[in-house]
């Protein structure tokens, strides 16, 4: 295989659970509480590295319609979350350009993993819910 181009982060790092590729820094977390995916908690980051993007999709989420792309780890190709390209409602515009990493898919800064919360799996996959 060709040589993977990976950016190496410094600090408290969230990395891919499967291949340990660096994905984001703790300091770039925008919100820890407001986002959920099929597998449970998800965090909104202002900056995510070493991911490739899928096709643009329109998704109806709890907070309204958004254009998102799924993001995949460059190292192993597993899906790690999604990125907001466009938010169709003004109140959600702050999410544009930011990415969500599913806690289930990443290893935390202390190397910890997270197990899926089955109660939350009733949501439509990839949805988010904002606490007011």
């Amino acid at each position: 295989m060709g040589r993977l181009f990976v950016v190496n982060l410094e600090g408290k790092i969230y990395s891919c659970k499967h291949c340990r590729t660096h994905l984001a820094l703790c300091e770039d977390i925008v919100s820890k509480v407001s986002f959920h995916s099929r597998h449970g908690k998800a965090y909104l980051f202002s900056k995510v590295v070493n991911v490739t993007m899928g096709e643009k999709e329109e998704r109806m989420m709890m907070t309204g319609r958004h254009t998102v792309v799924d993001i995949f780890c460059v190292g192993c190709g597993s899906i790690v979350g999604w990125k907001y390209e466009t938010a169709h409602e003004k109140a959600q515009k702050y999410k544009e350009g930011k990415s969500v990493l599913e806690r289930f898919k990443v290893s935390g800064p202390d190397g910890s993993s997270y197990w899926a919360n089955h109660e939350v799996s009733q949501h439509v996959g990839g949805s988010d819910a904002d606490d007011v």
């Binding site: 060709g2 040589r3 993977l4 181009f5 950016v7 190496n8 490739t52 460059v74």
Partner: protein
């Protein structure tokens, strides 16, 4: 009726016509010096033609055009043709004053030539002064060479002194007087060397000094033609020839046939064959570096060590490593006596061939993923030191320069003339930076695909006029460097093309390496393979880190 026959020479007809017009035999026109008078008349009568323009765009002044042609004829030695053109067109090459001046110089009428200089129409006083100086300096030297020391001294004192630009100049001239008299007293005049240049040479120097409106510069027509040819050549995006054949008959435009577009060979069975398999690294090899004499090869195992191999025997000559940190890149010093290497603790270090660490530049100088380049004078070392910036540091002057990018940098390469840097960005996008003097962005190349891998690009072709890159869509992309135009996409590989290398001595040959596990050699798509000079692929042409994940 004028009573003049139609087959009389034109000049005579014009002269008579003029007399008739003016009517006064004592007219000042007729008392002009006989030399060049007919031409003068013509010039004045044709005053209205001065603004005449020719050519489809109406920007070429007819008078200037004819004059540079006449000048070209004279330069080529066609004196008769030149004179005939002047007469037939009625456009003299030089004004009568200039003609007079030229004759005076060649005849050695120094005083008169200086006087003429003042009436030639020069606006700039300093030019008059410099020209006068040259003329009188000639007079001075000619007098000396003729043995007339007293006259030379008088000239120096009365005529030249006030024209000297500095006292040094005056002193230098004076010293000639001294050495001459000294020489004369010692031996016979035969032994004295001629100091004065030839008069035609003086004329040439004066010509260069005078503005082009007074005297048409030498070879002006040649210069204009060369300019046009250069522009044509630069505009030709497919220009990739070894020969310099450009015809004047039609605008130069190469066809695509000069760009490599056909696979000559897949894998290593063919004219280009596998020479050695170099085993020894335990980690993937990220980069290679050829020594300037192509005799040795450096390879770097990522975060491991750097190995030096002998190219002809395939033997590993030395392993360079540090106890603790791993090495991430490698490069030769141009003199072949030292090895540079980037370290994963961000420093860069230098070893002598035996493996003794000679220098270590600490601080943030390189990243784990970085390339390393060293200029041919051995002074500048370049590496990616931040996600979006490249450091160029001069190890002699101990100064640093930085190229700041707007995106993450994946790799870069240095042009052969060391004046440009080709930077690959995540985009994907390739940026061309000028690093000679002021650092500035010169061009951008787009179109190729990249999402996961380090894709390398390189300069190539005749005069390095092209940029080539790999791409994750399995094609090799080629752009014309100057115009940024994508001129070729080479298909054939069945996996991501990770790097390319253009043969530095054969502009028609390119090599590429792909995730499909093969190396392809690309060449021209011509049936007549006239340039079958490819006997031996120059080693540098194969400089590719083809095995990223393998260990060889």
């Amino acid at each position: 009726m004028g009573g003049v026959e139609d087959d009389e020479p034109a000049s005579k007809r014009m002269k008579l016509a003029c007399r008739e017009l003016k009517g006064n035999p004592n007219d000042s026109l007729l008392s002009e010096p006989s030399f060049g008078s007919s031409r003068d008349l013509m010039a004045r009568l044709l005053q209205s033609e001065e603004d005449e323009v020719i050519g489809s765009k109406g920007v070429i002044k007819k008078v200037e055009f004819v004059q540079i042609i006449a000048k070209a004829l004279y330069s080529l030695g066609y004196k008769k043709s030149g004179a005939h053109l002047e007469e037939e067109s009625g456009i003299p090459l030089h004004s009568s004053a200039v003609n007079m001046f030229m004759h005076q110089i060649l005849d050695g009428n120094w005083g008169e030539s200086v006087a003429t200089l003042h009436s030639i129409g020069l606006k700039d006083e300093s030019t008059v002064k410099s020209a006068s100086f040259l003329i009188l300096e000639q007079k001075f030297f000619e007098l000396l060479d003729g043995g007339k020391v007293m006259d030379a001294l008088k000239t120096l004192r009365t005529e030249i002194a006030h024209l000297c630009a500095s006292s040094n100049q005056l002193r230098e001239l004076s010293s000639n007087l001294v050495s001459f008299s000294h020489g004369a007293s010692v031996g016979s005049s035969n032994q004295v060397n001629l100091r004065a240049k030839s008069r035609p040479k003086l004329l040439q120097e004066l010509q260069e000094l005078l503005p082009p409106t007074i005297m048409v510069p030498e070879r002006r027509l040649e210069q204009l033609v060369e300019q046009a040819l250069t522009l044509q050549r630069d505009a030709c995006v497919f220009h990739n020839s070894l020969d310099r054949e450009i015809s004047l008959y039609t605008d130069h435009q190469c066809g695509r046939d000069q760009i490599p577009s056909r696979t000559l060979q897949v894998g290593t069975n063919g004219e280009v064959s596998l020479k050695h398999k170099l085993s020894g690294h335990h980690k993937p090899v990220s980069s290679v570096s050829w020594s300037s004499d192509d005799g040795k090869l450096l390879t770097c195992g990522v975060e491991e060590s750097v190995r030096c191999w002998d190219v002809s025997s395939g033997e590993c000559l030395h392993v360079y490593e540090k106890s603790g940190p791993g090495l991430v890149s490698c490069g030769w010093s141009p003199d072949g006596k030292s090895i540079f290497s980037g370290v994963n603790d961000r420093s860069i270090c230098m070893w002598d061939l035996d493996g003794k660490e000679v220098e270590n530049w600490k601080g943030q100088r390189t990243l784990r993923i970085s390339d390393l380049e060293i200029t041919r004078d051995g002074k500048q070392i370049m590496s990616i030191f931040k996600e979006t910036a490249i450091l160029l540091f001069d190890r002699e002057a101990k100064s640093e320069r930085v190229i700041e990018e707007d995106q993450t940098i994946t790799s870069f390469s240095l042009s052969r003339d060391n004046r440009y840097l080709l930077v690959n960005l995540v985009g994907p996008e390739i940026h061309l930076w000028n690093i000679d003097g002021d650092i500035n962005l010169v061009a951008k190349y787009k179109g190729h695909k990249r999402t996961r891998f380090v894709i390398k690009s390189c300069f190539g072709g005749s005069e390095q006029a092209f940029v080539a890159s790999g791409s994750e869509d399995s094609q090799v992309y080629i752009w014309h460097r100057g115009s940024e135009e994508l001129i070729g996409k080479l298909s054939g590989h069945s996996g991501s093309v990770n790097c390319v290398s253009w043969n530095p001595v054969n502009p028609h040959m390119l090599a590429s390496a792909s995730d499909d596990g093969t190396i392809r050699i690309w060449g021209l798509n011509s049936h007549l393979q006239q340039h079958k000079k490819l006997q031996q692929v120059h080693s540098n042409g194969g400089s590719m880190a083809a095995a990223y994940n393998g260990r060889t």
